[in-house]
Symmetry: D2
Subunit: 344 residues, 4 copies
């Protein structure tokens, strides 16, 4: 059994981690910390967990956390980086669901996140936890930077094209749409039901924090910097991301895009390339650790269109974090994650 | 392993049965029949099942179904009663998720369902599959009539009061609200997103088919006929039923209603009486085989208010059917059903 | 032209007042105050108003407000009562959309609203602005207490029965359901889309502030105190209230309930009794100043069921306030309010 | 007063036409036809119209329709073209909300709509009713082809760029999203609440019927054929379209895109260019005849991003049709259309 701690379990990635971990066959959930809710039963805050765990929120404390095999951070950006060095010293491995360790370039990080980085020295060793590109590195990582939700959907959607140099990677377009849970569980006017339901809008057109993260992933795959326009939108639903990706095919002849995608992801347990002509929908992955992808070349033109869907809280956050944990501890990669989506 | 067949797997109770059965540790899913979709892959129709089953819809056929240990009927009313006798002859046990075997009085059945009953002789032996009242009978039943969704929520909510004769059972009121999946997956204008979302309405005020079923359950518990006003409403959401129940307390003194409910359901794995003062919400049981109940006596008056929530597709249909199967085959009653609800 | 001021225009009743007033043929909108947003353009906060008004939020100031013919308060409870005396001195008439002047009994008010009342002396003259019972008093009122949303739906639904002594008025039951906009535009976790959508729940079962208000209205109609159990519920939609009302008919013979309701409301421009057998739905009044009502006696039993729907922001708040203004200033009662609901 | 007839008033564009026309100061609604609903009161089918019209559905009949000044067709594609010649003979003018007269090239029309065209000779004179490009032609038109919903949002969004030759018009990308009402009021599984809510998906990636229509509009503006990738998506809401448009700027220096858009639409009553840095949301135009547009050049790169929103049933259908009628009959262009959107 792996002993697990969670720092900051009061948000949506926190409760999703808990939902998945309480059914995980190899996990012993030791503690869930929350400064604001210390003493309160986790199941009182999240009634779906009544009967599944008796854990109460506790004060975060590096020493007791350090007794865990692995600690998940489901905290706001900037929290994990302050505690991680102390945990590593105690031999505890870390999976950060926030952004602290996602960007290799600390100057870039500071520009987008608006604060100095507290442990730049760890950035180099931290592994970007997208198993589909970094599985072997994850296996032995002490610190895993769990990818952002948009970067997971956009990255997995573009990778086969970029890795093979098939498209103009200086003018990539990612039109992404997310359910409201991506904005978190904090009280805010913009995400009230009365503001966000029955409406659709773009946001952060001028620049979203996930832009440099996607660029980094695709840049590594391309072997050089890529050009990307990334426009996120807010969808009136709770869970789900769909990313429609557009790129100009460099050479129209010869490449079977369907086969390319199927081959790239044939052995991936959590990426499902749909049959030719089929389009994905976010509900087909609701609650499941899965990315479903379709690839099109409309009217046989020179623009390739990829549609990629995930549940932002699962493959885009908590599920992928558990997938990383499974890899780190040599468990079945699918342990605790092998359930169908909830449909309808 | 129990070999299982499903007749009529193209509706919402069908796909929910499939979602739960493909993860059930003791089930071998042999066949899913559908006249209209025969030959089509189940996973093609329900993309959440891709990767979880290779079964294709087949033509319903009593002989091959008869090779299963148990057959679930997820069919329109009036279908099961035509096939069940033949299955029973082959030793196959049956769980009917439709209404064919729910009412003991065939005249009453014919009045509400508008057709003659095809096998009245089986009505007497059929067991009404609400485990909380009929667990022992279910264990040996050949035919289980799986309860309706409203009758499950209303029945479990009223039972402790009725069984103990604590309220005026001639003037019970059940104000029930259901998500739209209760209306099924058939194409109809009334359940289009544009008709049913962003709106709320009562329906069938003059008489809903679940009225006689609830009356029968409560009548058995009371030992005499009860009087009930039952008003269902349509809620703009996919899953969930909440029933607010009202009754006049016969004697205000002395009974601790909270303790009454907690004691009644203490040993029930799928009924959760909430702590005093807490109110249930349907999302706390989304996707889970669970009924959550609260009991109140507002302003210490003589009206008792009970709120009972279920997922209409799980404890109100497919989940309860699997719970019955578990009981019938001496499996752990919670096998395949012990997962937290999906929240948010 | 009536010169109009609004105090506190940043919430949902505020923006709804603005939406209706900018199209009102007899209104000159002079000012909208908001301490927190002073200086900001109203249309910047509420983009639906771009092109319809140039007004900016201003600091509330009794003197400039006093230059208006009428001032609407769309403020939290407890605000209007502090400014009203000063406005009345200047000859300005007041319509309070909050609760400050709704209860005649100041002790009761203080119990439910948790603060001392600042101008008890005005309570006696304030007119409870439900035109269907107080039209003549509204005409000459200096202060109109605009009814709460639930009290409007429940009150209009019960009145014909209570006024005619046809039911047991000691055991009335009102099972009411509201869209989320009833909870206001303040940032809060409970009304986030991810908390309130795809779910349904009761709340405030132990006692909601609208309970004494409904009791007061029905008590006046009955000529004595009534007994009422009132259970509100939260519906996953933006606008709309449906109240299902239950009462025991005292004498089953003789009364034609349909005719009773039709006669009671025949001359009311904003109450629509539906044809016998038809059920209302909240979307049929979305955005409209209208209460639609149906009355039933299921299975010809002794329980009468009434279903009453309104848009909580219109007939339950801003629309009714304008209806009151129209009456107070001898305008056409329907001026600015005579548009069909938005459907779908 | 203009005497008006509607053919086919049982769908969503039909009820929206009715909602707007019953409040139009210059319109006398003569008849609404529907073969299937003949004899039924319009207000019985659409309860929001109760009290606003007494019209009943009647059998379509060219002679009585010919007595109207103008006839709107809110019918499936292929219906108007069969009746229009007979109406024109009687001097009746026609506004077709379906696609029969939108494409100038009948071969193209037949390819996309799968049937022969019944009156090709009228195609040449029919005016494509996007007032922002064809106002003068609409004024004297006998037949107006009311634009499709996507073509309105995408066309208005791209026009300023295309008319001025500022972008690579061979690789335009339109990523469009629509509420479910765009799919109409016909019973179908795909648009059930339980299928379409809480989910997001692309559809018709291989080619949507609005593609040739958009190409035609942009081609005329460019003076040559354009290249366009158009991907529509389904949003879990009732009303609203958002189109995110992407194009490569040919010359990055010098053009002030914000000023370009503001100047282009300065005199348009129903196009609102938002202030720089502001993003549109569909709810800001819900129920209103308005297109709101923002233009961006993220990270000062060479990709321009335009976001354009409309209510698909209003500026995308019924409202634009009335705008065209107003122009055709020399009424105020804004008559009957000048109301704020319903928000929240």
């Amino acid at each position: 059994m792996i002993s697990v701690g969670i720092v900051g379990g009061t948000g949506y990635t926190g409760v999703e981690l808990l939902r998945l971990l309480v059914s995980h066959p190899d996990v012993d959930l030791k503690m869930v910390t929350s400064r604001s809710e210390a003493g309160k039963s986790v199941a009182e805050m999240f009634p779906n967990l009544r009967g599944f765990t008796d854990v109460c929120f506790s004060e975060p404390d590096a020493k007791t956390l350090g007794a865990c095999d692995v600690v998940f951070f489901a905290t706001p950006n900037g929290t994990a980086m302050k505690l991680v060095p102390e945990l590593l010293e105690q031999g505890t491995r870390v999976i950060d669901l926030a952004a602290d360790f996602r960007l290799k370039d600390s100057a870039e990080w500071e520009k987008w996140y608006g604060m100095p980085h507290a442990c730049e020295n760890i950035l180099a060793e931290a592994v970007y936890g997208l198993p589909e590109i970094n599985r072997e590195a994850v296996r032995s990582a002490r610190v895993v930077a769990n990818p952002g939700c948009y970067p997971t959907a956009v990255g997995l959607g573009f990778l086969p094209l970029i890795e093979n140099g098939l498209v103009d990677d200086q003018h990539l377009i990612a039109d992404a749409k997310s359910g409201v849970s991506g904005a978190g569980r904090g009280a805010s006017v913009a995400t009230l039901l009365c503001e966000a339901s029955e409406s659709f809008k773009p946001y952060a057109v001028d620049g979203h924090r996930h832009l440099p993260e996607i660029r980094q992933t695709l840049g590594v795959a391309a072997g050089h910097a890529v050009g990307l326009t990334f426009v996120p939108h807010l969808v009136p639903m709770i869970r789900g991301i769909e990313a429609s990706l557009y790129a100009a095919v460099l050479n129209k002849t010869g490449v079977d895009l369907q086969a390319l995608y199927e081959n790239r992801y044939r052995d991936e347990p959590f990426v499902d390339v749909l049959p030719k002509g089929t389009m994905p929908e976010t509900r087909s992955v609701r609650g499941a650790n899965l990315c479903r992808i379709s690839v099109f070349q409309p009217q046989a033109g020179d623009t390739v269109v990829v549609s990629s869907v995930i549940d932002n809280l699962v493959k885009g956050a908590a599920g992928q974090a558990i997938q990383n944990m499974n890899i780190m501890f040599n468990l079945e990669e699918t342990a605790g994650l092998n359930r169908p989506a909830l449909l309808p």
